[in-house]
């Protein structure tokens, strides 16, 4: 049975660090002198955060080309995704970065030497962790900067976002229906039972994913390891690749198997694959499996302010509300309605 635990609720992990440039990343003010020098240890901090899977960007009041040229000269430009170098307020720039990456603003940290900038950010975005540039030598030791696990997917995270940016640019410029665009990506979705070395990533997904998450229940490594080996559970991991590279392991599904009914306890997808139709394909696969095993298929759903999309995914995949236990809705599938897998994607099932 489900045991709910939320080991990291009290201590929100940072997913993206936004750096100021002048007198924070480097000593000196770029517009006043061309002779700025990197602050001691900054390169090491940036590379270490990157390995930990923490994304980085910049919010700096500067001229874009000038500042980017300087970042390139320091060999650091590739570490910053969606750099916001302009004259807008930094609070606004951090919001822009959060929207583009599509992660919650409460997972951001902001480093700046000026109290004014930190206070301005704090005023409109109180959930952003503001850090004085004088304290960056302690940055790597902060608990917020130390994810519980560092997985293959975390150390590749920045590169995966860079492929996303490339895809998005092409998608924006694509003329024609979205389905035709998706078909150009040559996507391959792989669904397989979780192996032991998937578990760290699986736990990371339960902790990191809020939007495309049907219950928000988080599970520890040990719990997931138990489900993986239990006869009464199925734990599936989904990974996605396309012609631009891998999205990594992006989906997790936990099913509780009873004699005549299977219950989807958790279905989650990384928000990086939103609009790829992966959640629906996963549900379709489970509907096929339920038919094969001659069981009914149910699903649990707990609404939060961000996951309405998953409710729709269930409802559009022929689930209907059956009962409600506290805030947990139980849905049951109408398996008589048959749906094909979409043609724009190849599905491999192990």
């Amino acid at each position: 049975m489900t045991t709910e635990s939320s080991p990291q609720k009290s201590e929100q992990k940072v997913k993206c660090v936004v750096w100021d440039l002048d007198n924070t990343l480097w000593d000196g003010v770029l517009l006043e002198s061309d002779q700025v020098s990197l602050r001691d240890g900054v390169t090491d901090i940036i590379k270490t955060l990157d390995k930990r899977g923490i994304l980085q960007s910049t919010a700096s009041k500067n001229e874009y080309d000038h500042a980017m040229t300087q970042l390139k000269a320091f060999g650091l430009s590739e570490y910053f995704i969606y750099p916001q170098i302009n004259w807008n307020s930094k609070a606004q720039n951090i919001e822009t970065i959060a929207r583009k990456i599509n992660i919650g603003i409460d997972t951001f940290a902001f480093i700046d030497d000026q109290p004014f900038e930190r206070e301005e950010v704090n005023f409109s975005q109180p959930d952003v962790l503001c850090i004085d540039a004088a304290d960056i030598d302690k940055l790597l030791d902060m608990p917020e900067m130390n994810p519980r696990f560092i997985t293959d997917d975390s150390s590749k995270r920045r590169l995966m976002y860079i492929s996303d940016i490339e895809r998005d640019n092409i998608e924006e410029n694509f003329v024609g229906p979205k389905e035709n665009f998706l078909a150009t990506l040559n996507m391959v979705l792989t669904i397989a039972p979780a192996q032991e070395d998937d578990l760290k990533r699986a736990e990371e997904l339960t902790v990191r994913t809020h939007q495309l998450n049907t219950t928000g229940d988080t599970y520890s490594y040990e719990e997931l390891d138990h489900f993986r080996q239990s006869d009464q559970h199925i734990l599936l991991v989904a990974s996605l690749n396309d012609k631009y590279g891998t999205y990594g392991k992006i989906g997790l599904t936990l099913i509780e198997c009873n004699e005549d009914v299977w219950t989807i306890k958790l279905l989650l997808m990384s928000c990086r694959v939103m609009s790829r139709g992966v959640g629906s394909v996963m549900i379709n696969h489970l509907r096929n499996e339920a038919r094969k095993n001659n069981v009914r298929l149910q699903a649990e759903f707990i609404s939060n302010d961000r996951n309405r999309m998953m409710y729709m995914t269930y409802k559009f995949a022929h689930f209907k509300e059956k009962e409600k236990i506290n805030d947990r809705v139980i849905l049951e599938n109408d398996l008589s309605q048959v749906q094909k897998f979409p043609e724009y994607l190849t599905v491999n099932i192990f």
Binding site: E179, G277, S280
Partner: protein, 78 residues
């Protein structure tokens, strides 16, 4: 707003996602083109364009399965 107007508006919205030559009573989602973002955008489009609120209990497959179903649903809510 007439039924035809609702139909035209809905069609031009759907054209962003799927090939437009669907018949008014053709199953929109039979081809597996159900993705959460599309569903979400369809619902948000209906809410905004026709100033109606789509409740959880309205999120029923039958209300969205064909163009005619969507139009019928909108007319019922307006």
């Amino acid at each position: 707003m007439t039924t035809d107007e609702i139909l035209e508006k809905t069609k031009s919205f759907l054209a962003q996602f799927i090939n437009v030559n669907v018949a008014d009573d053709e199953e929109l989602f039979a081809s597996g083109l159900v993705n959460s973002l599309f569903a979400m955008q369809l619902v948000l489009f209906i809410e905004k364009e026709f100033s109606i609120k789509v409740e959880n209990e309205d999120l029923d497959y039958d209300n969205f399965r064909t163009l005619n179903a969507i139009v019928g649903f909108i007319e019922k809510k307006i």
